[in-house]
Assembly symmetry: C2
Homo-oligomer: 766 residues x 2
């Protein structure tokens, strides 16, 4: 049995190596020539044999146990191995029929790898069986745990490279077992693959003793099984034994009979079975095996000969028949149908996706009779909707760094709890082993778990402090790239969108101050491919409810929602809110003044705090300069400002002109950095007339109104800017009055340490 | 002695609590009234008594040993404690003379805390003795290690909160001991403070057994000393003993007599010595002690009475004399002068900063005789300069995630090595215990170490893959905020700038593909306060040398440099390069065509790949449409495009018009996302005439030229856009020709898997 398995491993290694080198002669039927070699050698050999080794052994275990296993490949550039297995299992040809199971298909399969118009060297979305791209390192383990939450039948085998094990996010992921309920969730089997080197240097963990590693992972809650060596047949026996033990232990944990989760540490040579050395310098087992181990084969006959010797060492003529088909005894080895790790539905999560059973969001409507009269905490209302989502669904989780209450979403605790697998004490608040609120003080884990959860066919939301969500900028980048690529692959089924809810936002960090003030995540999101990103700034609770409902129903997007959590004035009744959100942006006629189709000035706003200041500015102007024709435009869907050719939500030119005119000055108060608006209106009629105010990196611990003053976005600043921009208006006296008001604010706040009552109690309906 | 120390601790706790509550009656000379309470109660009590406890015990150790100690406060909102100590030591009044050592000063000291115009609740730059703001959690330990590299006399005591211990970056920081040389560097003493709870939930580590913690940290290389309990006097004895042991062990390690570094785990109640309970619900020792433990003291007389009881439990009348001065027996306890942790020069690193001894960068000039003829790897030349910086200086380090060679900076290994404290094997490449190249596969550690290194008065550089530097977006945000705040504090001395060198950039990820393609870090940097950020895109080696020299001499900035590492055409001789970089942007007359002061079209570019395509586009136009007047403008200093009022490097209107005209179309090829340019030209004459091409999220594993084709930024795309934008030009035939060329490219690459020779071998001088 292990002998056959070894032969299968050789077939995968042969395929991995050939993908890097060959563009012809795929079965080595003739002597290897320079012409058979690709013009540019791109790819990574070092990690591949180890990945193949693990894969073929998991195949054996799956056939033996009929377990459902998901292979998460942490190491970067591991595609040659995963592709080789997907090809040998037949999945690859099922999905990409032009890559046939014969010599011609094999040749195309090799040729497409890491070539223009081909496929990447990472385990990308193109790779069947994958939910995880190894290009940016550190997220494999978080993805693995996310995948098994609420999937009791699944075992995610997560290969962690010793390079990525050095990253912070990976180091912080081991603790995920503290959030795994063996009775409700599946299992993760981490396989730490120590092959010694990164690009050039040794890895930290590879230089640690077994004893130190055993201690470290015991501390994390794992029992380590070591598989170490370089003799293939000895290693096969060791690995098979370790996997049997690990599987038995997982079964015991599920039955409550064991306490510690198993993990495997595999120490094997980098570039195992590849060329041993070149010109006296060792390759196998060193950093020189990391990428292409022999780089000059096209020009150097001696290198070419060594390459041929290496490739023939796998005896391809005994692995494939004359037509290029894997021989029957080997083809019988891997599991069948959806048990193949390359074809498992969990790795194409849309196949398992069920719509959420969503309550009618109108049910949570705030009774707004008149704009600017009622005060409410906007996200509290969203919390009630989320509570009822939890009530009706078991395929939904909320991920948050210990801020669910702080974000005013506490209503969810009426029906679920914070999840922990640890001891619970009497003083603990809403903590249980079967909660579906995942609170961990790690934005990386929240994001990684959620990605794994979504990509395996479930739904979720990530409420986060606005300034700190930039911690996962790069993870978001990678997820957005994954979604964009999936859209180009018809066989990838749609998954639920990733929903961010930034409620503790930059303008209301009254007690947290400057370190908590930063709206830069909008900039990160706005740069991504327009077919995968959506950005919403609902100004009040009814708009938030409408937006949230829309986002929870959507697919294949990243939805960024920024909304306030502090008590704030409410503007729209539910019908108006729905209409407003459907349009993305509209004129708020009740807030403006005498607009007969050609206002003197447009006051535009996006975001709850800018909306308050804008409506107040319009109110001030109406009071003090009643002859000025002021129009107020509110933008809830930020991308609606974009030209239609840049984003599918972009407004047609006619609608843009109807809102903003073609000629009149626009004073735009924006939640984020001003440059976003400068960009979005580039190409619109006379963009220079857009005068944007936003966060200009002025912040500290202070009152809400002082924050908008510090950033020149207060109602007085906006009103003064409007007066200055309208030609021919006599506004000197009013300008002086507003300037005096700002001075009064300054004096008042230093004396009383709070906002002037006329500011903090201001209502539009006054 | 411990009794006196206990009294001192009570003084610090009293000061911490009063900062949260009082605006009058600072010594409680009269009964506490509602009027003495601040109108808004902001601040965090929970963490403060533990931080104070550690502080006063370190004071004892410093007095005993005369050691130099830096207190790094990891937990967020720990300022009440650190401020209390700085005040009692007198440092605070030395720096802020209006906060006097008497009753009036005490009152101002309380009143300013977390109030408008006052100071933040985090250990911000305002706090004497700090190099680390706890607002965003996870970086304390990395900062601590960065601070002690090359500072053999320093011990950085790093208090790690159990909340932040859950973050990925912190979890990944423990391994820093593997990069510490006890003979050359100082020591870090981590104190893991387990007080049980985050905002609402328990922390993972607080629920772990001592045994599990001991295993975990043994795995990381530490020997744990436990200090656990809630009885103050017992805890004082335990803590004093643990610190003596830890100090002795550090001394032994330095002498080579011990192997494992010590660390302390302090388990103490959250909100220790604060109110025990309110209305039957426990406060002390629970999450309810996290922020303000009694929130309604202004309205509820019973709560006010409990607050008074709490504050009087410290017996302020026995701690301060009638004038409000700390009594002499207590004032004698802390260390003196620069041994005070609040006054130690390491925490105001500019005091220790020595200029780098820099070689003349002109010495490394490439001999560019004619533009676009010589091919060279731009960063290789920078590597030679960096090599000689290492030769002449011991206060400089390079931090990089295992990519120094990959970034073509390998020349540094002629004079220094990768640093490791672990075993070195014969096959290892340039690895030693005294290297100053810090390679660890963690962008978080690179950034955190470098920040710690810079803020304690040294110099450094962080070369990074462009797409992956966004991993530390949020750390950069916090550092930029720190620098901005320091500029507003005259007592903070200037420190060396933080220099990023992004050489493996988005356009040349030929083998890595889409996951490695993303220029978003520019967007993150450009949003920060203009007085702390600089962005450079040198198009060739001589420009890079000029920019690098400038950056290494600069102070208090973040300098972002994006430059290519692949073989590429060189444009400017050294004199021209210096002139070009000094201007920030200039016309490249040799690249244009018949420009008599009013070109038909301006081709502008920023970044090495856009520059190549732009120069080639101008060449194509000259060849095929010789009558068209084309001007080429290259931008090396991105912020020079900005209006002067937005950035100090911004061009005056006259210069902008001289380069770009006021009316002619500008085709702008940009390294990053187009929106940056859209924003920078907003407000310039007729911005709509700027047609920007940049990275539009189209990428994969492909050839360099195919990448620019995929993103519509190839020489043909730029030339076609120019033809389309110039009115009255007969360009149909040329447009067709260029379209055919693009089709030819497409066919060629699918056949040959590489770029057409006429593209890959193109030289401007042809």
């Amino acid at each position: 049995m292990l002998d056959l398995l070894h032969r299968y491993w050789e077939a995968t290694n042969y395929l991995a190596a050939c993908q890097i080198y060959l563009q012809a002669n795929p079965l080595l039927k003739e002597p290897l020539k320079a012409a058979h070699i690709k013009p540019r050698l791109l790819g990574h050999w070092g990690t591949s044999p180890g990945l193949n080794f693990i894969y073929v052994h998991l195949n054996r275990l799956i056939r033996q146990t009929q377990a459902s296993m998901l292979y998460i490949c942490g190491p970067g550039h591991g595609a040659p191995a995963l592709l080789a297995n997907a090809y040998l299992e037949g999945t690859y040809s099922e999905i990409y029929p032009h890559i046939t199971q014969d010599e011609a298909g094999l040749n195309l399969f090799f040729r497409q790898f890491s070539t223009p118009g081909g496929i990447p060297s990472h385990v990308s979305a193109h790779t069947p069986g994958s939910i995880h791209e190894g290009g940016e390192l550190g997220y494999s383990l978080a993805h693995a745990f996310g995948a098994v939450f609420d999937h009791p039948d699944l075992i995610a085998v997560c290969v962690v490279g010793d390079g990525e094990a050095e990253t912070g996010p990976l180091a912080g992921s081991w603790k995920s077992v503290e959030f795994l309920n063996p009775r409700r969730d599946g299992a993760v089997l981490p396989i730490l693959h120590l092959n010694g080197y990164k690009i050039s240097g040794p890895t930290v963990m590879a230089r640690m003793s077994d004893n130190a590693l055993e201690n470290l992972f015991a501390g994390h809650g794992y029992e380590v099984l070591f598989v170490e060596g370089d003799d293939p047949m000895e290693m096969h026996a060791l690995m098979a034994g370790a996997l049997d033990l690990a599987y038995a232990q997982i079964t015991e944990i599920r039955q409550g009979a064991a306490r510690h989760w198993p993990m495997i540490i595999l120490r094997s040579p980098k570039g195992w079975t590849g060329p041993k050395e070149w010109k006296g310098k060792a390759i196998e087992g060193t950093f020189r095996a990391h990428q292409v181990p022999l780089t000059d084969v096209k020009n150097d006959p001696a290198q070419l000969a060594l390459l041929e010797e290496w490739l023939r060492s796998y005896h391809p003529e005994t692995l494939f028949d004359a037509d290029g088909k894997l021989i029957a005894s080997l083809a019988a080895l891997p599991p069948e149908g959806e048990k193949r790790m390359s074809a498992i539905p969990y790795a194409n999560g849309g196949k398992l996706l069920k719509d959420l059973d969503l309550p009618d969001f109108r049910r949570y409507a705030l009774p707004v009779v008149k704009p600017g009269e009622l005060t409410a905490e906007t996200t509290v209302e969203a919390g009630k909707l989320l509570r009822d989502v939890f009530l009706a669904n078991t395929n939904f989780r909320l991920f948050c760094p210990d801020e669910t209450n702080s974000n005013r979403l506490g209503a969810v605790f009426e029906v679920t709890n914070r999840m922990t697998a640890e001891t619970i004490l009497p003083e603990d608040d809403h903590l249980s082993a079967d909660g579906r609120v995942m609170e961990v003080l790690s934005e990386h884990l929240c994001q990684g778990w959620l990605e794994g959860y979504l990509l395996t066919g479930r739904h979720g939301i990530f409420p986060c402090y606005e300034a700190f969500v930039t911690i996962i900028d790069s993870m978001f980048n990678q997820h957005a790239k994954w979604l964009k690529t999936c859209r180009e692959l018809p066989w990838r089924q749609s998954v639920a969108s990733l929903n961010y809810l930034l409620t503790s936002h930059s303008w209301r960090q009254d007690h947290n101050g400057y370190s908590h003030q930063g709206p830069g995540f909008i900039d990160t999101v706005v740069n991504k491919k327009s077919n995968v990103i959506r950005i919403y700034l609902p100004p009040d609770a009814n708009c938030l409810l409408s937006v949230l409902d829309h986002c929870l129903r959507s697919r294949d997007y990243v939805n960024l929602i920024v909304a306030g959590k502090q008590p704030e004035l409410q503007w729209l009744d539910m019908d108006s809110a729905i209409q407003h959100c459907t349009h993305g942006a509209s004129v708020w006629e009740w807030a403006g003044n005498n607009d007969d189709g050609q206002p003197d000035v447009v006051l535009a706003c996006a975001g709850d705090v800018p909306t308050l200041e804008t409506v107040a500015a319009a109110w001030l102007l109406r009071k003090h300069l009643p002859s000025l024709k002021v129009r107020v435009v509110n933008v809830v869907d930020l991308m609606s400002l974009s030209p239609r050719e840049s984003h599918p939500h972009g407004m047609e030119p006619e609608r843009f002109s109807a809102l903003f005119t073609d000629t009149q000055p626009v004073i735009f108060a924006f939640h984020g950095y001003v440059r976003i608006i400068h960009d979005l209106v580039h190409g619109r009629p006379d963009p220079v007339r857009f005068h944007v105010r936003g966060f200009m990196e002025e912040g500290t611990t202070t009152t809400p109104f002082d924050m908008v003053v510090l950033n020149n976005m207060s109602r007085y600043h906006l009103a003064m800017e409007a007066i200055k921009r309208v030609k021919g208006i006599e506004g000197t006296a009013v300008l002086e009055l507003f300037k005096a008001k700002l001075a009064e604010h300054d004096a008042y706040i230093r004396e009383h340490l709070e906002d002037m009552p006329e500011i903090s109690n201001w209502k539009w309906s006054d």
